[in-house]
Point group: C2
């Protein structure tokens, strides 16, 4: 039978899970804390306590497997490697093996951006596509490249670091130690950095002044929605950097679409309309007017679970 | 049976062909002019006259098909599209269909850089690899990206235009109408442009002075081999631009190797040693000391035929 898949999204605070059918409908879902466990074994035991009764009830034969999305997840090895935002910092956790053995079903793991790409391909905006790029615009910028209907994992499982492609040579210092990485410009963090730089050196009137280092991407979004021209210009600039870097990516993989996902993408047309304009301006002729710019087709709250579950098919 | 493949490389002047076995050995080869035919039908007739007797002799059942490499070739459609350096400018030629029907065997066509990538994978430096990048450094810069053991053609067959990735924002004007494309720096044409710019603005002593617009990449290579420091610095600069752009490509596809092919790549260590140094300096941490830099494993004279023939397997 095998008409169901289990999806687990391991986040810094919570671990969310859901049982998903082939159409991408979540039949049941829940969560448990990621933190507060003394050891990894305790965390696995908590997952087992929560999920084994569920699998018994559904019948293990009906569940094709469990897909796991996690930051710094490696598809090839099933490991979570040195994840800075998870409780297991600086170590390698063979998470797919541990979860698979505990639950007695096939387990597959990948990083969260790749899981999102697979989710879009299975149930979302990229259904039926064989060549597309998924860009997650959250605190950082993540990506998943799909070519010939398959995730591009690279030889070591570490492909798809669009956030660390250089958008501006010798530009802003990045956490990775290098300069000018795209995610220092085009992400929730990046747009706030741009805003703070501009506020310091310009005199425009804007509702974004006076937050003393507590400015957030959400505040910028709200100001832009109220027509604050400074905030709208921040989107325009962010979209320009994003569009010109994506033009280079199109020259590499010639995707049918670029699908945007995550917090900053929720600004929707304010970001994506100028991003498309700048992309088109920068594209090599042969690619013009062919690349679709799409917003994620997965419901926000459940996207991570759906993406993870899609790994199992 | 089907133990042989026919490879055809359509160049601006000559069309070369060869019969190749599974090990990449050319059993027989020849060529005919690409130019001088009144119509495309005449060109196809000339191919037929040359090759049909050969196929009769070998037995058509022993030949799996014909692979065709051509500039501006599209794998999906089998067409040569607006090729600026072929006799059929500004038109679309359904070359795979025409050749396949004339010879009575399966015909597959792709562009010359993709053919080279497939050749390296079948018989050359990338044998056994599933994830690598092939870079051709000739008059221009071409590329083929292989992921999961498959060519990345993109949704329209036009992927792999690394030569038109922007190496320097607002940099040198390119023939494509845009500015700063990699091939304006890292190609036989690019290194000559750099040399001419430097000769005009610098006063270094070098044997490269005084050629009045007739400087060639080969002259630069010969000067560098004789220890001309100006010429060596040209390689160093070219390698820097190449290395930093390739670092971005590694972040996208995480290849096991980057394989270099073509005229400028024949400079060998003079270019590839500094290119590797700059690549490593620019790479995101997780990719460091993992990407092999290789020179083509195909014999120069026969590489295009071998690449084309590999399409047929």
């Amino acid at each position: 039978m095998q008409t169901l898949a289990l999806g687990i999204d391991i986040g810094g605070t919570n671990t969310a899970y859901g049982i998903v059918n082939r159409r991408g409908e979540i039949l049941m879902k829940g969560s448990l804390p990621t933190t507060g466990h003394a050891t990894v074994a305790d965390y696995i035991a908590a997952i087992n306590t929560e999920l084994s009764p569920l699998l018994e009830k559904l019948g293990r034969d009906n569940v094709v497997g469990v897909g796991i999305g996690a930051p710094n997840g490696n598809f090839y090895t099933g490991e979570i490697i040195f994840a800075p935002n998870l409780p297991w910092q600086g170590v390698i956790i063979p998470m797919a093996n541990l979860v698979g053995e505990a639950l007695g079903i096939k387990a597959i793991l990948t990083n969260d951006a790749n899981a999102a790409a697979i989710g879009e391909m299975a149930y979302g905006a990229a259904r039926g596509m064989k060549d597309f790029i998924l860009v997650t615009l959250g605190t950082g910028l993540g990506s998943g490249f799909v070519a010939n209907g398959q995730m591009v994992y690279g030889h070591d499982g570490l492909a798809g670091e669009l956030g660390h492609v250089i958008a501006e040579r010798n530009g802003r210092k990045c956490n990775c130690g290098r300069y000018g990485c795209l995610e220092r410009y085009a992400s929730a963090t990046g747009i706030v950095i741009t805003a703070e730089l501009w506020l310091a050196e310009r005199t425009d009137e804007t509702s974004l002044r006076g937050h003393n280092g507590k400015l957030t991407a959400r505040m910028i979004q709200e100001a832009a929605q109220k027509g604050d021209t400074f905030a709208l210009e921040l989107y325009e600039y962010t979209a320009m950097i994003l569009g010109q870097t994506l033009a280079d990516m199109v020259a590499v993989t010639s995707p049918e679409a670029i699908v945007f996902f995550g917090g900053l993408a929720n600004a929707g047309d304010m970001l994506l309309v100028p991003a498309k304009k700048h992309l088109e301006e920068q594209l090599l002729n042969i690619y013009k007017n062919k690349v679709k710019i799409l917003k994620s087709g997965l419901p926000d709250a459940d996207a991570a679970i759906l993406g993870a579950s899609a790994l199992a098919w």
